[in-house]
């Protein structure tokens, strides 16, 4: 009988031995490097777009353009792109094996389908975790190295919040935790589509389409959209930003985590249900 640990190790090896898994890391490093370089050269001009109205009345003292702001902007920008990178790998985990035929070998092993899916799911989450770690290192630590540490001028639609530098560590930690939860939902959604669809591209495209559509719905303040917005996972993917508000809306963050958690459990449950029912006739 296969031990769960062995199945997980196999799934992790399969994930990390595929060249496509490294595209995500390369894209993150490239985007972070590119944006940091842009901010290094033109950061003040870019920022003045936001601070222009304040600068008419105030002298803004202190270094606004610091590593924390760069990290904030990068996370904010990449939180929309990162799901696509996650889906690129996790959306292929089952359907890729179905289309290539390796699923026949996989499912004729002494391991239940439930164990296999959970192992694949955990391998997907591990990949997501490392993707986020690379983003965190690139966005926070590299940016701090280049731009220095300092208070964060967090940007939200209600204005600006200045968060003192010494109050940022725990906020970044929890922000990454929430971002991980959000991306885990994307990974689970991809896995779900990967379980019900047989070719390797369709699940990835489907997840990307869902994210884009839900994000567009979230962008517009249209009353008819307001009814569904609280139930869309994309609405809550950005809730890590709330940690940089003053006061922190803990109730909102908790609600977002619950919505994301429910999505995670339901999607994993559906994945298990459909995969256990699935006939491998390819």
């Amino acid at each position: 009988m296969s031990s769960f640990k062995n199945i997980y190790i196999n799934e992790w090896i399969k994930t990390m031995k595929r060249p496509r898994s490294y595209i995500g890391f390369a894209i993150i490093i490239f985007i972070c490097g590119m944006l940091q370089s842009a901010f290094y050269h033109d950061g003040k001009e870019i920022l003045s777009f936001v601070t222009q109205s304040l600068e008419n009345s105030f002298d803004i003292n202190g270094t606004i353009l610091n590593g924390n702001l760069i990290c904030f902007i990068l996370l904010q920008t990449l939180i929309v792109q990162l799901p696509l990178l996650v889906a690129f790998v996790t959306g292929d985990m089952v359907s890729g094996e179905t289309s290539s035929g390796t699923i026949r070998f996989l499912l004729t092993r002494p391991a239940s389908r439930t164990k296999i899916i959970i192992a694949k799911w955990l391998a997907g989450l591990t990949y997501t975790f490392f993707l986020l770690i690379v983003l965190g290192v690139m966005a926070l630590f590299v940016a701090r190295g280049v731009f220095g540490n300092g208070d964060l001028m967090a940007l939200n639609s209600e204005g600006l919040t200045i968060v003192p530098a010494d109050d940022l560590g725990w906020r970044w930690f929890y922000a990454l935790c929430i971002a991980f939860l959000s991306l885990s939902v994307v990974a689970t959604l991809s896995l779900f589509f990967s379980c019900i669809l047989d070719n390797s591209i369709t699940p990835i495209v489907t997840v990307m389409a869902i994210i884009i559509i839900f994000t567009i719905i979230g962008m517009f303040d249209i009353p008819s959209f307001d009814v569904i917005k609280p139930f869309l996972f994309t609405t809550h993917m950005i809730s890590w930003k709330s940690l940089f508000e003053d006061p922190i809306p803990f109730a909102d963050i908790r609600f977002s985590c619950i919505v994301l958690g429910v999505h995670l459990v339901v999607l994993l449950g559906l994945s298990l249900y459909f995969f256990n029912k699935k006939d491998i006739s390819s």
Binding site: M1, S2, N6, I7, G101, R104, R109
Partner: protein
């Protein structure tokens, strides 16, 4: 045969389950929507047999094998390995089976050895290099184990497929059309390997094919299916006996042939006519007498051949399906 099993199963299920039989399909059916791919299929593979699973393309062989491997769930019926129901003891059963369903698809981005190591872990094994070398030598891949599978030919993948089949030393081996894509030497090697595994290691082997001669050459027993239904099941020696052959005769003058036969005792053995051919049901020893008779009656014979009725039937359905 399966009616008897059913009665047995109904009257004395415990005794039925303790009967020898490595694989037993019991009234297995599978439908995909309105299409019934496998209809009420029952057969049994005895322990230590090399068992042929014969049918033309699209007859339901692969679907049946997939059901045996738990890849497809039967719509009805049950599959047993030994005394264990596949439905209830899938994982335990899979540890006892080595299989290769359809073409051997591997993780192309991994080397052959890395692929095998995945399977090693799935089976909870710890292989030494020596064991790997022995296995790779057995299938003829020694020296190529570090190459990426994407560089392998179909034949090499088939060999790697056999390596993964044998990796966990299973008692039962299920192979789906294993000769497909192999060169003549590969087919011969595979045949010898199957015979070796069966004779020396006592492994039960079930293999499917759409070529009767492949089955005929190495199988003890076989089942023939067509359009999802069992056509016949039994010992190969009995099913393909030369006791009753279909002998087909073609003459230059078809009418003269017909007339000569109609006026003789051979009329009794004349079973049918196929275009310009007269078909007789004879045993092998009667053929020279028929030839002699025709010669004596100045019937100029153009062609005479014979086939086992099952072989003939199989040829017909195979041609029909292709």
């Amino acid at each position: 045969m399966h009616e008897l099993q059913s009665v047995f199963l109904y009257l004395a299920p415990d005794l039925f389950y303790s009967m020898p039989g490595a694989i037993r399909l019991h009234h297995v059916s599978k439908s995909f929507g309105n299409f019934e791919a496998v209809k009420n299929l029952s057969f049994q593979v005895d322990e230590g047999d090399i068992y042929g699973f014969l049918g033309p393309n699209g007859s339901g062989k692969s679907t049946s094998l997939r059901m045996m491997m738990g890849l497809i769930k039967p719509s009805s019926g049950e599959i047993y390995f030994g005394n264990q129901s596949l439905l209830k003891h899938r994982s335990e059963i899979m540890n006892q089976i080595g299989c290769m369903i359809e073409k051997p698809d591997f993780y192309n981005y991994l080397s052959a050895i890395d692929n095998l190591k995945l399977f090693e872990r799935y089976h909870g094994l710890k292989y030494t290099k020596k064991q790997y070398d022995a296995l790779l030598e057995k299938v003829g891949l020694l020296g190529r184990e570090k190459d990426k599978v994407k560089t392998f030919s179909h034949g090499m993948k088939q060999r790697l497929g056999l390596a993964q089949v044998l990796l966990h030393n299973p008692a039962i081996i299920i192979l789906d059309e294993p000769n497909t894509g192999l060169d003549p030497q590969g087919i011969l090697d595979l045949r010898n390997l199957m015979l070796q595994l069966n004779k020396e290691e006592g492994k039960t082997i079930l293999f499917s094919s759409h070529i009767l001669s492949e089955v005929q050459e190495i199988c003890d027993s076989m089942v023939v299916i067509n359009r999802g239904e069992k056509v016949v099941e039994g010992k190969v020696s009995e099913l393909l006996s030369e006791e009753l052959l279909h002998v087909r005769v073609e003459a230059i003058d078809h009418n003269a042939l017909k007339q000569a036969i109609s006026l003789s005792s051979w009329k009794e053995k004349w079973s049918s006519t196929e275009e310009s051919l007269l078909v007789f049901s004879l045993n092998k020893k009667e053929i020279p007498a028929l030839v002699n008779f025709l010669h004596n009656h100045s019937v100029e014979v153009l062609r005479i051949d014979y086939k086992n009725p099952l072989e003939e039937y199989f040829l017909k359905i195979t041609q029909h399906s292709s």
